[in-house]
């Protein structure tokens, strides 16, 4: 079974917590986590609802493999309507919180309404209650976690919470668990803040059982762990360098968007790379990186634990930041670094710490700073507007603006709107490097044609985790394709998107797919879960989830005109590197993509597609 078959429904308006059975018919169609959470959200809210109103709901959802020994089986997702995009938002996080929630006996928490005063949800196995959080409001994620563990006299309690960014409804606020693992994107933290829900603290001692075929499951788990260990990416590259293994590789490919996508290569990339994190600092002789860390059940362990340079200007008078903590992952390093032209590793780590501490998505935040710096460079924003000088490359400006945004101070309030609203406000909407209102991550859609299409069609706005075409275009996984080519990309992208939807619905981490194919994943799901989870059925499930998300967006008023890229990517060629001269040739791929999806030319699933997928 693997599912606990129980949902916790929390109504903040009424102050109630109630248990209800999981809809197993839906579980058979949508598996869990991302898919099943989306099915519930779609069935329970009007997709046109204001995301920050009590009518929106927020769902914390695990997968059937969450809390099991399957490698990386510790994930949970937060599903809601996103305030940054107005689209479906689904942000996935690791750490230990998801497994703890499952171990407490819950597949999912559905939170509805809005509390009159700040509250937090405390769960101890089947006991769930809403408690006053007046004293926690205004506190950081880190302080909130520490306070709740102390209050409940249980250091093993796991906490998922928002910091001041979520409270202030920064439109890219994230939800952070276990100090530095985050459901980061699309502003899910702002939704939590709008509901006056500060935190969820959970302690689960029931464990996860109900595996359909334990013997087969354990042998599939052992075999799959061996595949991860033997693979050069998951067995060596990621443990040693983390996702930061990508910094130099992507930069050398000429696919590293730099200074708000003006350039595609960053001259300072090496200084902020995974390799640099291993080098001894001139100031104190220590390395930036202290250790790698795994999330629950993960045998890859790509997480970075770093220690900032105590003599750096950002922290020299702030000993509270001197301890080891979550370090730079590639996307954060890129967004805080390359996107702004900042090559000061310690400054990036400081900004990253603040993002973790107060719950902000470093990708959208960093990319928005890129837009601010370009507007400053063009003379549209002045020192008086911002409150400080903000030229490209300024580590001082980056650090100060991070604090201001996290705390809702001065110009930080405007940065907290995200780059789309900010650029529109200053009359330059074309300078916002976003799709559907969400900022790009760390790969250039001109240099990698498949990624361009992935960004344009992602259901949650620009995102690398909805169809990671970098795999094929850079690493040759599962096959090597030419980054410049458009032919064949729609087919590959559809396959990537559908398979990723399955992984995101299972409780597993998508990073396993550097090594695992569906042939490694399917036996683990089939052995754990009752029902038919053949390869064919799983891929149909992935496609069904993708189309359901599309349905949500269409109903929310997002259409094919939003499946596009900023004019800079369509018209301004890559200036340097192996892909020099390239623009994103979206028009060559999008019609094919729609056709392969079984959608009309307007990007709407046809009646035949709906019926084939049982939608």
């Amino acid at each position: 079974m693997a599912w606990t078959r129980k949902i916790l429904r929390v109504n903040l308006t009424q102050g109630s917590c109630a248990s209800e059975p999981l809809n197993m018919e839906w579980a058979m169609q949508y598996l869990g986590q991302r898919g099943l959470g989306t099915k519930y959200l779609m069935s329970e809210i009007d997709p046109k609802v204001d995301p920050l109103s009590p009518g929106n709901k927020i769902i914390y959802t695990t997968g059937p493999l969450t809390g099991t020994m399957a490698s990386t089986g510790g994930r949970y997702s937060v599903v809601t309507k996103g305030p940054l995009t107005g689209a479906i938002a689904c942000s996935n996080s690791g750490g230990y919180f998801g497994a703890e929630l499952k171990s407490a006996g819950w597949d999912m928490i559905i939170v509805e309404g809005s509390a009159a005063k700040p509250v937090y949800l405390h769960i101890e196995n089947d006991k769930a209650q809403l408690l006053a959080a007046d004293d926690l409001w205004g506190k950081t994620v880190w302080a909130t976690e520490a306070t709740l563990k102390q209050r409940h006299q249980d250091p093993l309690t796991r906490v998922s919470s928002i910091g001041r960014a979520g409270e202030n409804q920064v439109l890219f606020a994230g939800i952070v668990n276990d100090l530095h693992r985050a459901a980061g994107r699309s502003g899910v933290g702002a939704v939590m803040g709008s509901k006056n829900l500060k935190a969820i603290a959970v302690r689960g001692t029931l464990g996860v059982g109900n595996i359909a075929d334990p013997k087969v499951f354990m042998s599939a788990v052992v075999a799959s762990k061996k595949v991860l260990a033997a693979n050069p990416v998951t067995g060596q590259g990621l443990p040693k360098y983390g996702t930061q293994v990508l910094m130099n590789v992507i930069n050398e490919m000429g696919a590293s968007p730099t200074r708000n996508h003006r350039d595609v290569q960053f001259e300072g990339a090496r200084k902020i790379s995974g390799e640099a994190m291993h080098e001894k600092r001139a100031t104190d002789g220590k390395t930036h990186l202290v250790a790698n860390q795994a999330c629950f059940g993960c045998t890859i362990a790509c997480g970075r634990i770093s220690q900032i340079d105590q003599t750096h200007f950002s922290v020299s008078t702030k000993p509270e930041y001197w301890g080891a903590s979550g370090g730079l992952e590639y996307e954060a390093a890129w967004a805080l670094g390359n996107a702004n032209g900042v090559d000061d590793l310690e400054a990036l780590q400081y900004a990253n710490l603040i993002c973790n501490e107060d719950g902000m998505d470093p990708i959208s935040f960093g990319a928005t700073i890129g837009a601010v710096m370009e507007l400053y460079d063009l003379g549209i924003l002045s020192k008086e507007d911002i409150g400080l000088e903000a030229p490209f490359g300024s580590a001082e400006a980056l650090c100060k603006l991070t604090e201001m945004t996290a705390r809702g101070e001065g110009f930080g309030k405007i940065i907290g709107l995200g780059s789309k609203r900010l650029c529109a406000k200053y009359g330059k909407p074309e300078l916002s490097m976003t799709v559907k209102g969400q900022e790009f991550p760390a790969y250039d859609g001109r240099a990698l044609q498949g990624m361009g299409l992935a960004y344009a069609t992602s259901n949650r706005g620009a995102c690398h985790l909805r169809g990671y075409m970098v795999s094929t275009e850079v690493f040759g996984i599962p096959i090597k394709t030419d980054p410049k080519a458009t032919e064949g990309k729609p087919e590959l992208l559809k396959a990537f998107q559908d398979a990723t939807a399955v992984v995101d619905s299972s409780g597993l981490c998508v990073f396993t797919t550097f090594a695992w194919t569906m042939n490694d994943i399917q036996p683990q799901i089939q052995a754990a879960c009752e029902g038919d989870w053949s390869l064919e059925n799983l891929l149909a499930t992935g496609e069904r989830i993708w189309n359901l998300e599309r349905d949500f967006n269409l109903a929310a008023g997002i259409t094919s005109k939003d499946d596009t890229l900023p004019p800079r990517l369509l018209n301004e060629p890559c200036k340097t590197g192996p892909q020099a001269g390239m623009v994103a040739e979206l028009g060559k791929m999008l019609p094919d993509y729609y056709r392969l999806r079984g959608w009309t030319l307007e990007g709407v699933p046809t009646a035949e597609t709906r019926s084939r997928l049982g939608l």
């Binding site: 001692t205 464990g207 790698n292 999330c295 059940g297 362990a301």
Partner: protein
């Protein structure tokens, strides 16, 4: 050969595969809350440290037990709690200087590492060899080898 669990915290990533393996071996459920091995996270030092019973030769728990519920497994040297005999008085949890024997309120008995009868599930599950099951008389062998090499290299300079 007597074998014992050997822990090298520097290799631990905090994945908790050991805790899941331990609980699954003993209860059939993946449940770190019921694991006999625990991983501690000293977060601000960036260290994760697994810890469990080291199977003392003169075991405080065994000597303290008023009903002789803790017996030596002659094959492995493990001090094993006989559930049928244990009365859940918890005196052993007071006697153990290391805290590695604990009460389980679900069973009403105490629980501790029993080396899984000679095939410890934690060591098998550990992806980084932070937990190994090695010759009890030579748990220091790897470290000695490293220092031997280092010392010799230094002497040859």
């Amino acid at each position: 050969m007597q074998k014992s669990l050997h822990i090298d915290p520097a290799k631990c990533t905090g994945c908790l595969q050991c805790e899941m393996a331990c609980s699954y071996e003993h209860t059939g459920v993946f449940n770190p809350a019921k694991s006999r091995i625990k991983v501690f996270d000293f977060h601000h030092e960036g260290r994760k440290v697994p810890y469990t019973c080291t199977q003392c030769a003169e075991a405080w728990c065994l000597n303290a037990c008023p009903v002789e519920a803790i017996k030596v497994d002659l094959a492995t040297g493990a001090k094993v709690v006989a559930d049928a005999v244990c009365v859940g008085c918890k005196v052993c949890t007071i006697a153990c200087p290391f805290g590695t024997i604990n009460y389980n309120h679900d069973s009403g008995k105490v629980q501790k590492c029993d080396l899984c009868g000679g095939v410890p599930a934690c060591a098998a599950a550990c992806p980084t060899s932070a937990i190994t099951y090695v010759d009890a008389d030579w748990t220091g062998l790897d470290r000695m080898r490293q220092w031997a090499q280092k010392t010799d290299a230094a002497a040859r300079v």
